[in-house]
Every structure is written in structure tokens, then in C-alpha cells.
């Protein structure tokens, strides 16, 4: 009996470590995939990048067939819109603008759909005010969660938007704000403009600038409010991977995280989340350092790191303030809405 019990415990621990090893391998694999996209531009696929991270965190349990199927349905819906409705826009980049408008509608508008003379109403995605930073459960930030619950946040909504745009053969730029991601497009008529998916509004830049949490220097240095290119977007996903790894293996030695942040910084030097993660790992290393002189030296370096982050214009924004700010877009819509854009999307 006791033997059996010991055997059971043994088997259990062995299977646990095997599981851990497998998941570790998934993270490594995801990092390789992302890295490959940075080196080989032709291998770039934002969809593939994001799902490799979600799959690693979910320990291989991401139902990729279902997720891909749902994305395909959304894409079909976009195509129907593109072909079926009139867009009051005349510039030469109309094909792209049309695609952007369709993705926006699919994500934010309720659309009547007629199937066999029966009218159905398509319900758009909604904002989920619970656990907006994924502190309780990281998978709250995931597209797979968004697709099953149809509720998402400033992480999953813009990611899905970008994926749908790319599925339709056009582009979408992610842009950062404190704890926030939104979409930037440039069209011939209006120049650069913002698409805010959490509230379905096109806010002007003043909304972000007036939040009070974006230092002018951060904008000047491209920390925030800059249209990210594809490589920079992959760097962002790489930091998602690092976060997921940290949540999965809280007691890791930091080498995987350091690897992620270094690689991300190589293509996006002012990515503050990577700079912060790197500094925090350095801090932990100093705490473990037994050689006092070396610790002192490293601490000086650490101070330089932190002051660099501060100089770039990064400031911490607490969750409550963040939510108030997001809501301000609805309460002060008049002030912050880009009125040039509200018309051409209407049917």
C-alpha cells in the first residue's frame, strides 16, 4: 500500500516535470518562431505569432482549428460588407480604406444580416471591464478568449483587428499608449488617424495627449503614439511571450525573459516594457550577487537603466486611472472625436 502510494507520488511528480518540460519547449518554440519572423520578413504572420504565444501559455491546448475557423467567418463577413455597401470615399487608396472600414464594422457595429429572407443581427465584440491587465488570469488578454466570450480588451481587440486586416490583404499599425494598444492608419484624405476599438471611436491625438499620463518626451521618442511596423509588432508579441512565461514559471532564472527582452529591443529600442523587464532581471541578479563590489557597480548601471526609462518619458499608470481615462473618451466624446472620420463609415 505504502509502496503504491510512493510510486503514485513519484509518478505524479515525474509527470509534472514532464509537463513542465513540454510547456517549456512550447515557449522555446514560440520564441524561435517569433525570432524567425524578425530575421525572415517573408515568414511574418501576426496571426501565427500571437497564437504561438497563446498556445504556449495554454500548454498546447489552443484549439487552433476552431480559432482559425472563427477568424475565417469574420473575414467572410468583412468581404460581404466590402462588396455589399457603399463607402463615401474617393481617393486612390479606397480599396484599403474599404477593408479597414469593414473590419471596424465587424468588430464594433451591429450589422443586420439577411440569410434566406430572415434578418439576423450580428452582435459586435464588447469591452470587458474585468481584469483589463490580465492580472488575475493572463488568458483574459487572449484572442482565443475574445473569440469564445466575444468580450475583449485593449490587447485582444486591436490584435484581432490587425489579424483580420492582414487576412484581407491589407495592413494595420498597432500603436502604444500607457497600458494600452490602439490602431493607426494613414489614408490619402485624412493623413494619420486613430481607431480605438475598446469604445469604437476614432479619437484625435489630443485625447491621448490630454490623458495626462503621456509625457511629451514619450511621444517625441516614439515610446507612445507611434505607428508600429511589423517587426516592432512582433517585438510586442515577444514581450507577451515573456509575460506568459513569467506567469507560468514564476521562479525561473530570468534567462528566457532576458532573451526575449534583448531580442525585442534589438528591433524596438524604445520598447519600455522590454526595458523595464530587463532592468528588473538585472535587479534580481544584483540581489543575488555575493561580491559586494560587483553588486555596487551593477547597481550604478541599474540606476542608469532606470533613469533612461524615465528620460524616454515612461510613467506608470495605475489601473483605476487607466479605466477613468478610457471612459473619458465616451463621456467627453465631443471633445476628442475626430469628426472628419465619423461620416464616411456610415452606410
Amino acid at each position: 500500500m505504502i509502496k503504491n502510494y510512493i510510486l503514485g507520488v513519484l509518478l505524479f511528480t515525474v509527470s509534472l516535470s514532464v509537463k513542465a518540460q513540454n510547456q517549456e519547449a512550447l515557449f522555446e518554440k514560440s520564441l524561435l518562431t517569433l525570432n524567425d519572423m524578425l530575421v525572415n520578413e517573408s515568414h511574418y504572420s501576426f496571426k501565427k505569432a500571437v497564437f504561438s504565444v497563446e498556445n504556449a501559455y495554454l500548454n498546447g491546448k489552443l484549439d487552433s482549428l476552431a480559432v482559425n475557423g472563427q477568424i475565417k467567418v469574420l473575414k467572410e463577413l468583412c468581404s460581404l460588407l466590402i462588396n455589399g455597401r457603399f463607402l463615401a470615399y474617393v481617393e486612390s487608396d479606397k480599396p484599403d480604406v474599404n477593408k479597414w472600414a469593414s473590419v471596424y464594422q465587424v468588430m464594433c457595429d451591429s450589422i443586420p444580416i439577411i440569410i434566406k429572407d430572415q434578418e439576423y443581427r450580428y452582435i459586435p465584440f464588447r469591452y470587458d471591464f474585468d481584469d483589463v491587465f490580465g492580472n488575475q488570469e493572463l488568458s483574459n488578454m487572449f484572442i482565443s478568449k475574445l473569440l469564445t466570450t466575444r468580450k475583449g480588451n485593449c490587447h485582444s481587440l486591436p490584435y484581432l483587428y490587425k489579424i483580420l486586416c492582414e487576412e484581407l490583404g491589407t495592413t494595420a499599425n498597432l500603436a502604444l499608449a500607457p497600458n494600452h494598444i490602439y490602431i493607426k492608419h494613414q489614408n490619402k484624405k485624412n493623413g494619420w488617424y486613430n481607431t480605438e476599438l475598446t469604445s469604437g471611436i476614432f479619437p484625435n491625438d489630443a485625447w491621448l495627449m490630454a490623458s495626462g499620463f503621456i509625457h511629451v518626451d514619450a511621444i517625441k521618442n516614439g515610446v507612445y503614439m507611434k505607428a508600429l511596423n511589423n517587426k516592432e509588432s512582433i517585438a510586442l508579441v515577444m514581450m507577451d511571450l515573456a509575460d506568459a512565461y513569467q506567469k507560468t514559471f514564476p521562479n525561473n532564472d530570468g534567462s528566457f525573459l532576458l532573451n526575449c527582452s534583448q531580442t525585442a529591443l534589438s528591433v524596438f529600442p524604445n520598447l519600455t516594457s522590454a526595458l523595464i523587464m530587463r532592468a528588473e532581471i538585472h535587479k534580481k541578479q544584483i540581489e543575488k550577487e555575493t561580491n559586494i563590489d560587483k553588486a555596487k557597480q551593477d547597481f550604478k548601471k541599474l540606476e542608469v537603466e532606470y533613469s533612461h526609462i524615465h528620460k524616454l518619458g515612461y510613467r506608470y499608470m495605475p489601473e483605476e486611472m487607466y479605466l477613468n481615462w478610457l471612459v473619458s473618451l465616451k463621456t467627453e466624446r465631443e471633445k476628442y472625436e475626430n469628426k472628419k472620420l465619423t461620416n464616411f463609415n456610415k452606410k
Partner: protein, 454 residues
């Protein structure tokens, strides 16, 4: 001048050509009339058969053309009509030939704008430009800005008087600083005093000398009706100014009292930035005499993040960029007085060389390029454009110039939006911010006062 004349002559000769080619064609290519007694161009105006334009060949109808025989008369008429028709056809072909000749002769389209150099007053601008370029190495805002304004007034401004006002103002600020017990070397104190010089009534106890604040002039602040409204000389004369003249005078006086301060730009606007003695930066909004925050400036709603990334707004302007701005002012005044010509190009090219991302200089360049393009296209008229690759090139360049301005992150701010934004500064929360900042600055001053210098 030479170019202008040259073109005029060519233009005139082209006109003469039209006439001289046209007239002989009428005569020489007309076949000999069958009946010599009948003039090839009789007056048929009465029957309305012949085009009125041929009237100039009118010859009094000779009695011989009258014939009692109606048939014969009709036959003759028909013949004549045929002849006339034929003549008209010949005439048309002759005209066509003449036109192609003219086109060939005119083929050399002029690709530069006509100069205004013959206009009275332009020479002051040419001189001012040369002087500003010469002063390039020893940049003086006071001297350069005076040159710009004096060129507009055709060198009629009194330099000695202007210098005197600036020196006196500088002395006044120094004296007031001493009276207040401020550290004469503190940059915060100098700027604070200068700020008060603009926004408050100041009186020297020693001499009873009084200075009244400068006020914002809402009327025609863009200088559309009266361009000189934007000038420092106007500000000094009337004690009212706007967002161009007020910061410029501030900086001229800052130079005078050796204070460190900079000009910074925002849409349609400029303001002052200065560091206190600890390196903390303050913004001064002179149009309403308040200290403002960065977020107030970015809230205007017309600053795009790209504009900040390209450093076109909210940055301290360097000496080079200031000089570029003054050259842009010079070009702007010239355009206002005379119009677009290649002198504007010379000035703007220099301005862009000094500050490639300057929004104003780039906009003047865009306007100048479009003016030149219009001029060329008017010359080409409805002739096929593909025969003029240089013109096509021009069109492309104008397009790319406009898209460059878009890339910079520039967005046009309508006048109402601008006024509304300026007014919003008088709202409660901005006033509060101003008070907070003033308190901070004063605190920085008193700290400085109490420190003992070694």
C-alpha cells in the same frame, strides 16, 4: 530684369507672328478669280452668306457686278460661294500651319516665374536678404528681425529709436530686478521679471518710471488686412501684439538682459520656453500672460504625434531654426507685398537648408511650386502635356511636396478652433495651473535669493 524683358519681347513677337502669318495667307493663297472683274471678297454681308470677319476685305461693289440676268447672277453667286468656301478651307489650313509654326516657335515654355524686381520696394528685400545671410554667423534676433520689418516698410523705420527702446526696456528690467532683490544671474529671475514686464504694470520706485503691460490684439491677428500687425515695431508702437510679435520681442529683450529663453512652435502659434536654475522648464503664453502646461498646448487638438516625433512642435528652436523662421518671415512679407517669384525660392531654399522640417517654410515652398506649375500649365494651354516632361515633373514635385508636409504630421488648424483654444486658457482649470506654476517659479526664485554665493 533682363529675363523679364526678354520674355516680354518674345511674348509680343509671338503675337505679331500670329497677325503677320495670318494676313498674307488670306491673300496669297487665294486662287485667281475666274472673272477678274469680280473681287474675290465681295460684300455679301447683306445676304448673310459670308462671314462677317471677311468684311475687312470689303471693297465697294462695282457696277459691273450687277447683272440683269437673274440666272447668271445666281450662277455667279454660287460660284462665288464655292470660291469663298474654298477660300475658307484654305484659310483654315493656313491657320493650322501657322499655329504649328507658332507652337514650334513658342515650344520653349518658360519654367521660371516672372520676376517682380521692377516693382518699387523689392530692392529693400534683396538687400535685407543679403544682410541676413551675412549676419548668419553672428546671429542677432534684434538685428535680423529689424531687417525683415524694415524691408516691408521700404527702409523707413528708425533704427536708432528702435535700439533705444530695447536698451531702455533692458535697463528697466535690470533695475526692477535689483529693486526686488532678485539674483541678477538667476535665469529664473530674469525670465520671471521679463514675463512680468509683458503681463503686468510695473513701476520703478527710484525714478517713478512706469511700464504698462502688452495686450493681445484680437483684431486681424493674422495680419491679413494689415500685414504689419505681426511686427515687433507695431507691438512697440501700440503696446498690443499677437503670437508672432510678442514672443519675438520677449526673445529680443531676453538677449538684451542675457536671459536664456527659447521660441517653441505649436499649430499657428509660438510661445516661450525657459529653464529655471535647476533645469525645470516653463512655458510662457504671452498672448494672455500666463504660464502654461505642455498638456494645454497638446490639447489644441491639432498636434499629431507624428508632428512631435518629427520635432516640428513643442521644441526649443535653435539659432539656425530661428534664422530659418526669419527668412520665412522675409519671404512671407515679400509674397504679401508683391507675389511669388524666384526670389522667394532663393530665400525659402536657404530657410529649408537651415531647418528642413520647418512647416512654414515647407508650406511656402509648396505654394511657390504650385504657382510656378500654374504658370507653366497656362503657357502650355491645351497642347498635349506629355510633350512637356519638365511640366509633368513639376506636377509630381508639387504633389510630393504636399505629401511631405502631411508626413511631417501637419494638420491645418481652422481660425475658430485656434481662437477657441486660446480662449480656453482663461478657463478655471488652466488658471489654476497657471497659479500653481507661478507659485513654483516664485519658490524657485526665493530659494535662489537665500543661497549664498561663494
Amino acid at each position: 530684369m533682363v529675363l523679364f524683358k526678354d520674355w516680354m519681347v518674345r511674348g509680343v513677337s509671338a503675337c505679331i507672328l500670329v497677325v503677320s502669318l495670318y494676313s498674307p495667307a488670306l491673300y496669297s493663297q487665294v486662287p485667281n478669280p475666274q472673272a477678274p472683274s469680280i473681287n474675290p471678297f465681295p460684300n455679301y454681308a447683306n445676304n448673310g452668306v459670308v462671314n462677317q470677319s471677311n468684311n475687312r476685305n470689303q471693297i465697294p461693289v462695282t457696277p459691273s457686278s450687277f447683272n440683269p440676268d437673274l440666272n447668271r447672277q445666281q450662277q455667279q453667286n454660287r460660284n462665288i460661294m464655292l470660291e469663298v468656301e474654298q477660300n475658307q478651307k484654305l484659310q483654315e489650313t493656313a491657320m493650322k500651319e501657322a499655329r504649328t509654326d507658332i507652337e514650334e516657335l513658342r515650344g520653349a515654355v518658360r519654367y521660371t516665374l516672372q520676376t517682380y524686381s521692377k516693382f518699387e520696394g523689392t530692392q529693400f528685400y534683396y538687400e535685407a536678404f543679403k544682410k541676413i545671410i551675412l549676419l548668419d554667423t553672428t546671429f542677432s534676433l534684434k538685428e535680423n528681425n529689424f531687417l525683415v520689418e524694415n524691408a516691408y516698410f521700404g527702409n523707413t523705420l528708425d533704427k536708432a529709436e528702435f535700439d533705444k527702446i530695447i536698451t531702455q526696456s533692458g535697463d528697466f528690467i535690470h533695475a526692477k530686478m535689483k529693486e526686488q532683490g532678485y539674483d541678477q544671474n538667476s535665469n529664473a529671475a530674469k525670465n520671471f521679471m521679463l514675463f512680468q514686464f509683458f503681463s503686468e504694470t510695473l513701476q520703478l520706485k527710484s525714478t517713478n518710471q512706469k511700464h504698462l503691460p502688452f495686450k493681445y490684439d484680437f483684431d486681424d491677428y493674422r495680419g491679413i488686412k494689415n500685414y504689419a500687425k505681426m511686427f515687433v515695431s507695431k507691438l512697440l508702437a501700440t503696446k498690443t501684439g499677437q503670437c508672432h510679435s510678442m514672443p519675438l520681442l520677449y526673445l529680443i529683450l531676453a538677449d538684451e538682459i542675457k536671459a536664456e529663453a527659447y521660441l517653441a512652435l505649436s499649430p499657428n502659434h509660438s510661445y516661450i520656453r525657459f529653464p529655471d536654475d535647476k533645469g525645470k522648464w516653463y512655458n510662457i503664453e504671452l498672448t494672455n500672460g500666463m504660464l502654461s502646461t505642455d498638456s494645454y498646448i497638446s490639447q489644441s487638438g491639432y498636434i499629431k504625434s507624428e508632428a512631435l516625433q518629427n520635432k516640428i512642435y513643442m521644441e526649443n528652436l535653435t539659432k539656425k531654426e530661428m534664422l530659418s523662421g526669419l527668412l520665412t518671415d522675409l519671404a512671407d512679407g515679400y509674397i504679401h507685398k508683391f507675389g511669388y517669384d524666384e526670389f522667394v525660392k532663393t530665400v525659402i531654399d536657404k530657410a529649408l537648408e537651415l531647418s528642413p522640417n520647418s512647416v512654414r517654410a515647407n508650406m511656402i515652398k509648396a505654394n511657390l511650386d504650385s504657382a510656378r506649375m500654374d504658370f507653366v500649365l497656362r503657357q502650355i494651354g491645351n497642347r498635349p502635356l506629355e510633350k512637356y516632361p519638365q511640366a509633368i515633373d513639376m506636377i509630381e514635385k508639387v504633389k510630393s511636396q504636399y505629401s511631405f508636409i502631411d508626413q511631417l504630421g501637419y494638420e491645418d488648424m481652422p481660425e475658430e478652433a485656434y481662437q477657441e483654444w486660446l480662449q480656453s486658457m482663461n478657463k478655471e482649470n488652466q488658471k489654476q495651473k497657471n497659479e500653481e506654476l507661478t507659485k513654483q517659479l516664485k519658490k524657485a526664485l526665493s530659494n535662489k535669493k537665500s543661497t549664498i554665493k561663494g
